[in-house]
């Protein structure tokens, strides 16, 4: 038996657990990601004629395969949003920004994005936005670096 000594300061250390997953996409999500790489946004046409973005593999009502992909956007309107005052390390932007749901022109469902804006007062539901593409794209959601506001005349705000 050893003498039981004071353990001193309790030890602690960084512990990073990382799973380097790589997933196969299938033809529908694959096409969406291919589009991002090519700076094209696509959705799938549902049986009732709605265009779903991002595209779905199955009709949300009937469950049947959806096979028709159509180009949408690239501009759209904000349907709802949340302002992030203090971005954390894993957020896509370092400065305060807005998570936005964007309904792209020609789409019937909104998709999520990060909107760079000068401040919370610059963001509003119904505002027009467009994607800012990453310089290097590989077929990944990060190929959209972020979204930006578009002024009513069509240029960037």
């Amino acid at each position: 038996m050893t003498d039981r000594q004071d353990p001193g300061e309790i030890l602690s250390a960084p512990l990073i657990i990382e799973y380097p997953f790589k997933r196969t996409t299938g033809p529908v999500i694959g096409a969406f990601l291919t589009g991002l790489r090519e700076r094209v946004l696509v959705g799938s046409r549902a049986e009732d004629g709605r265009v779903l973005v991002p595209p779905a593999e199955f009709d949300p009502v009937s469950g049947e395969d959806l096979t028709e992909l159509v180009e949408v956007g690239p501009q759209g309107v904000i349907t709802t949003w949340a302002w992030v005052t203090q971005p954390h390390a894993k957020h896509p932007l370092d400065e305060p920004f807005a998570w936005v749901l964007v309904k792209l022109d020609g789409a019937d469902t909104p998709m999520l994005g990060a909107l760079a804006a000068p401040g919370i007062e610059a963001v509003s539901t119904g505002a027009r936005v467009e994607p800012v593409w990453a310089d290097e794209r590989e077929g990944h959601i990060d190929d959209i670096a972020h979204w930006t506001l578009v002024d009513p005349e069509g240029g960037r705000a």
């Binding site: 050893t2 250390a13 790589k22 033809p27 999500i29 291919t34």
Partner: protein, 209 residues
């Protein structure tokens, strides 16, 4: 698979077929009292376990409690730096984050004086010669590189002693060493009772039920 109709802009480009989706979890691991004591022992090149009473099991590495007795383990016991391989796995695949040269062997090692196996590497012997019952000893880093981590033990290597043919995985009724094999035959499901199906073994084994 259904035929997908692409818009014209995507018909003549190489399609994306896979996507990176890494998941990273950032923790600060706080060792707590028991493991801090263990790791401070490591910095003195001592392997220190804990037990609840002088007669009860010695847990290495200690977690501060005896899970069988439900009692705290205030007694510290230094265990040996030699032990016996109770189980092992030869790793033949390179995996993300591992700097090891394959093939290598990861083993459960029951240190003399301990009642719980620790997991560590076996080196200085070809992977295909590692066996249950093999006696091994700790190989430490250079003194200047000793830190409060189990990695201060680089690996375990064979001592050259005769195998402990009766070694048991702690808590198992049947041994795992060669000496416990029926007629020298490895313990397959024919000679060891499957606790789930009840198949195999003999009533004398008792099984779990």
């Amino acid at each position: 698979m259904p035929e997908i109709q692409l818009p014209a802009s995507l018909r003549d480009v190489e399609p994306v077929r896979s996507v990176r989706t890494p998941a990273q979890l950032d923790y600060t691991f706080t060792a707590g009292d028991a493991t801090s004591r263990f790791l401070r022992g490591i910095t003195q090149k001592k392997i220190i376990g804990q037990q609840a009473t002088p007669q009860s099991k010695v847990y290495v590495p200690p977690r501060g409690a005896d899970p069988e007795l439900g009692a705290a383990t205030p007694i510290e016991v230094e265990v040996a730096q030699v032990g016996t391989v109770t189980s092992f796995c030869v790793v033949n695949l390179q995996f993300y984050g591992s700097g090891m040269e394959i093939p290598y062997t990861s083993a459960l090692i029951l240190l003399d004086g301990a009642d719980l196996s620790i997991m560590h590497l076996i080196q200085e012997i070809p992977a295909d010669q590692v066996r249950i019952g093999m006696r091994v000893e700790a190989v430490w880093r250079d003194d200047a590189d000793i830190e409060p981590t189990l990695e201060s033990i680089k690996w375990f290597r064979p001592t050259g002693e005769p195998d402990d043919v009766n070694v048991r995985i702690p808590g198992e009724k049947r041994g795992t060493g060669l000496g416990s094999w029926v007629g020298g035959v490895a313990p397959t499901e024919l000679v060891v009772r499957n606790p789930r199906t009840g198949v195999g073994g003999t009533e004398a084994d008792g099984g779990e039920g």
